[in-house]
Symmetry: C2
Subunit: 613 residues, 2 copies
């Protein structure tokens, strides 16, 4: 590999109100490419794994990569990295929109935000110049209002804003960071911003991103567009339906979770949450910067009392405010989703936490009196929407739920832990992994907790035979597959950066080549597909090192007891279960594939091989 790439890092100390610009070391560019790679590397280098995630010792790293802001399709992505207050492990969450491209136009690949502002502050970055400004008047506002106020204040309607809402201010461990309705949703990164008294980051730039080898870039881009065109699902299906199209697939496969994972299977939920109901609410679609797909399906609720609420609910939100809460009503899903975006809180964890409370109600552990007189029962749409707001604002019993299922169970006691479904403190995503075992192993081993995005097993969910065909119910072979999924995803999606949906739906067979070609052309560095894959592996080892130093062991690479002890009762995955023995088998295989010890710790050899020691 040869040099040439010149990235810039903006270091901001909120305590001292100072900003400094650093060159991105070429060693980091070569070894990590961009995005999450940069975030993980700086996190490991600079943050004490034992630090209080909500203390000034934590750092919030905002990073994007070499493809953001270029003509590469679907590459306006950025990553937020910190120590997670929800899990205590690495938090890394990605988001799209226009902000990532604009951040590059403003001159930066990485923002490292340190310390804690004395008073509410926002960070304003314009064409290489940064300042920490007072945000007292923005405190207490929703993310939508905050964006509006900042545009007015700065006299520029074209700034891009990433900010927290009231949930982040109130340090909810489910708080998200929102930029124009796009969420860096999970792992409580909004609370990290809140703990730093940082209400918003605003960027504006006018410098185009330089391409080292334009001809090579154009050719790689043309190949990528061709692959997208040839995808059997990207156009028109995914472009028309967005992620909610997955409801029918997972329902048919018996892995769309219902009732806090106590039920599943084919069921009568599809009419309420399926394609027809979705299309009836769709009014338009929206595009991220330079995306030809536009998967954001803008929907408006049509029935009282939710009428008129507008949002872009994704598949995961159909699960969290639909299936798992047993609310067979897409209008309620839209309304709950909208509130989450406004208050800046994760739709997935909030819905999962409400489902947890609903199960406690059903089991008699909670009464209606406990929940502020609200009938928080499975299927009660209004109660669910009421509680979204209560949780985000920490009102009444919402305060008990505001930090997710693990903390809530600790406060409620009475055996409620049994119904708190999470991995490492992160609530489960929208797949019942008893019927998709590599996906389950990924939940158990992802460096962020139960995270569907770090190693999405599209082989099991969509029967795509890349890199090979798999049996979703089998445990054997899933260790290697999970490594492949995590490493390709980590680099092609999280570092390049690029939208994860492309990897699943259009590029699985060529994702490493595609990333190698585009990133090499953009940066002038030379990456082979093998280099790329190695970067993905390096990312996962870098994150794992942080987690090991934070105190995580093999016993944390676990799944909730319900998935290990209760077979699925009906539907397309009837009888499926992941007993502890099977999980152990998969973990053994996974650790071996990774070159880690039986306890899940990277070996010296592996670390040396990856240049990590």
């Amino acid at each position: 590999m040869q040099g040439g790439y010149t990235g810039k890092v903006l270091r901001v100390n909120l305590t001292a109100k100072t900003t400094a610009i650093e060159d991105l070391p070429e060693e980091i560019a070569v070894n990590y490419i961009g995005g999450a790679g940069f975030g993980l590397r700086y996190l490991l280098n600079e943050v004490d794994p034992k630090t209080d995630p909500l203390g000034p010792g934590n750092k919030l790293i905002v990073s994007t990569g070499p493809l953001a802001g270029t003509e590469a399709p679907c590459a306006s992505r950025m990553m937020f990295t910190a120590k997670s207050p929800a899990t205590g492990a690495v938090a890394m969450s990605t988001t799209g929109g226009y902000f990532p491209a604009e951040m590059k136009f403003a001159g930066f690949d990485v923002l490292i935000i340190e310390g804690k502002a004395e008073e509410p502050a926002y960070l304003w970055i314009k064409d290489g110049v940064a300042s920490v400004r007072n945000a007292k008047e923005l405190w207490g506002t929703t993310t939508f209002d905050c964006e509006h106020l900042l545009k007015e204040k700065l006299g520029d309607q074209n700034v891009r804003v990433a900010c927290i809402g009231q949930a982040g201010e109130k340090l909810s461990l489910m708080a998200s960071i929102i930029n124009e309705k796009h969420a860096a949703g999970r792992k409580g990164l909004g609370a990290v911003m809140g703990s730093k008294n940082l209400k918003a980051i605003v960027v504006r730039g006018s410098n185009p991103v330089k391409i080292a080898n334009q001809e090579m870039f154009d050719q790689a881009r043309a190949r990528m567009l061709q692959a997208m065109k040839e995808s059997p699902v990207l156009f028109p299906e995914f472009a028309k339906l967005g992620t909610p199209m997955v409801v029918e697939a997972t329902s048919a496969a018996g892995i769309f979770p219902l009732k806090n994972f106590a039920a599943t299977g084919e069921h009568d939920f599809v009419p309420g949450l399926g394609v027809e109901a979705s299309l009836a609410r769709k009014i338009t679609k929206e595009y991220c910067y330079k995306c030809p797909v536009g998967c954001s399906q803008v929907k408006v609720a049509q029935s009282a009392p939710f009428t008129g609420s507008m949002s872009v609910p994704e598949y995961e939100t159909y699960y969290s405010f639909g299936g798992t809460t047993m609310v067979d009503n897409v209008d309620a899903v839209i309304a709950a989703d909208r509130l989450c975006d406004e208050f800046g809180i994760d739709t997935m964890s909030v819905g999962a936490t409400i489902a947890f409370a609903m199960e406690l109600r059903e089991k008699g552990i909670l009464t209606q009196e406990d929940t502020d007189g609200v009938d928080l029962s499975f299927g009660n749409a209004e109660a669910m929407v009421t509680f979204v707001k209560k949780i985000a604002l920490r009102q009444g019993f919402g305060d008990i739920l505001a930090d997710g299922v693990r903390k809530a169970a600790q406060k409620i006691g009475k055996g409620s832990e049994k119904y708190a479904l999470h991995v490492k403190g992160l609530e489960l995503p929208a797949y019942d992994v008893r019927g998709a075992k590599a996906h389950g192993l990924n939940y158990a081993t992802s460096y962020t907790g139960a995270d569907h995005n770090r190693g999405y097993a599209f082989q099991e969910i969509f029967s795509i035979p890349v890199p090979y065909e798999v049996d979703r119910f089998a445990a054997a072979g899933k260790g290697k597959l999970t490594k492949w999924n995590q490493d390709t995803r980590s680099v092609c999606t999280d570092c390049a950066p690029m939208c994860g949906f492309l990897l699943d739906m259009a590029l699985p067979a060529i994702c490493k080549e595609n990333t190698a070609d585009l990133v090499s052309a953009a940066t002038g560095l030379h990456f082979t597909p093998e280099d790329v894959y190695r970067v993905g592996e390096r990312c996962n080892n870098t994150a794992k090192l942080f987690n090991v130093r934070a105190g995580f062991t093999r016993t944390d690479d676990d799944l909730p007891a319900r998935l290990k002890t209760e077979p699925l009762k009906e539907g397309g995955a009837k009888g499926a279960i992941i007993p502890q023995a099977e999980l152990d088998l998969m973990l053994d295989e996974y650790y071996a594939a990774r070159g880690w010890t039986k306890d899940g710790v990277p070996t010296e050899d592996k670390l040396k091989e990856l240049g990590l020691m």
Copy 2:
């Protein structure tokens, strides 16, 4: 007067989807100056006074004037004119923000919108080019969301949007037109837009407004700024508190209406709605284009369940969602105001209509069952906010209330008419005019119904002795005063155009001179202060002609029975009342001052004098 002013009129036929550009006739510029003058003239010329206000025969005229988009302070104002579906008389409503200036930059003084689009449409105007576009995908959205979607759709964050929300789509007779939180609130103009299937008007322009005589303009502007500087209330008081500062003044004077005008006087509402509570919620302020004052006080609700709601509630809204509904809670006022702006409905009429329903509940005419199980009692903040949404969306009993008190009383019957307080179908504003009689006479005679803005009696409300000192309880002399108030307001505020608050607070003594100087300099036409005053008189006569032809007579120039038969029971205006005899006396004096017949019809002589026949 000599020529030189070249205004442009855009004529849009929604039925035919055609647009045409016309020169503004110099005769209209000379005789009407701009804004409401243009609107009233075109309405009288082109709309049948007997036409169905919600039929395709009505026209929506959007007009601004020669000062909009110039450096004149506080002149970014525009006027919407049509036949009102709420009153059947002229509807004319003004609003500010940035849209009016942008409309001038786009090249137009007047938009005349005719017919009815077959499908939902929006009007897009950019630098002299206009088109009618499909808005099917915008239908059903809130005004905030509609603005966002249009900016995305047009790929330009700097367009300015005036649109309707769900209330306008559903033809609520209280529906407003919203541009960036600024409302053309009253008289159901949002329903006129809705009836035409016109969701939004979008403007973008880059042509500066030409000034005919720059030196003269600069001097006039300097004199105006000096007068503003010397105002005893504009800075810092009004700039810091905005219109809500009036709550304490009217409370002390005993004319802040409580309980649907059944109570008033000094009361314990001030702590809940007064300066201290207001300032505690204030987070920032916002400015209209070229306004040095910034009276828009942005507030965030602080208490559950309203926490986090952000809005700019004005004094009138403190009355409608505060005093008259007996809700002593500024957070509820903010939340209700926000919903009104989102759904596009008038805060004043909605609050007044809810207060009417609350009184019916108190009197036993309505039960809790009638109101969808909601306890719609005086003082119930949550019930009030719930009903704002129900009304705007015509849900349940909200549908009965959605067309204001007059229509609701017709539907409810059982003697409810007695509690329906309105003039010509327009609900009462925030002044108990039993203690401010010129203001009351203005309610009775304004060409738009009970409208505080068409002839605001600041002499009575703020004891400003211009053009002379008055006794607010006296009836004698109020006919002439009301003519002066209506004519100066009509021209200085509604035609120039200029913000009405300036007239009340900074310029009362020089308003005609100020308008004459600035408008003459801007247009190259020559106006004396007498010419200006005459334009104001011409506006009121033009509107009156329309109303007479629509069938309005002296008996319509009335006040609600409660104000004529029930003396105020307590406070600073205790015992005050406007008996019919006193109203008759004032009407006689007013008609005489106007040169109208005893029946309130303009005489031939007067019309000839004003060039109206």
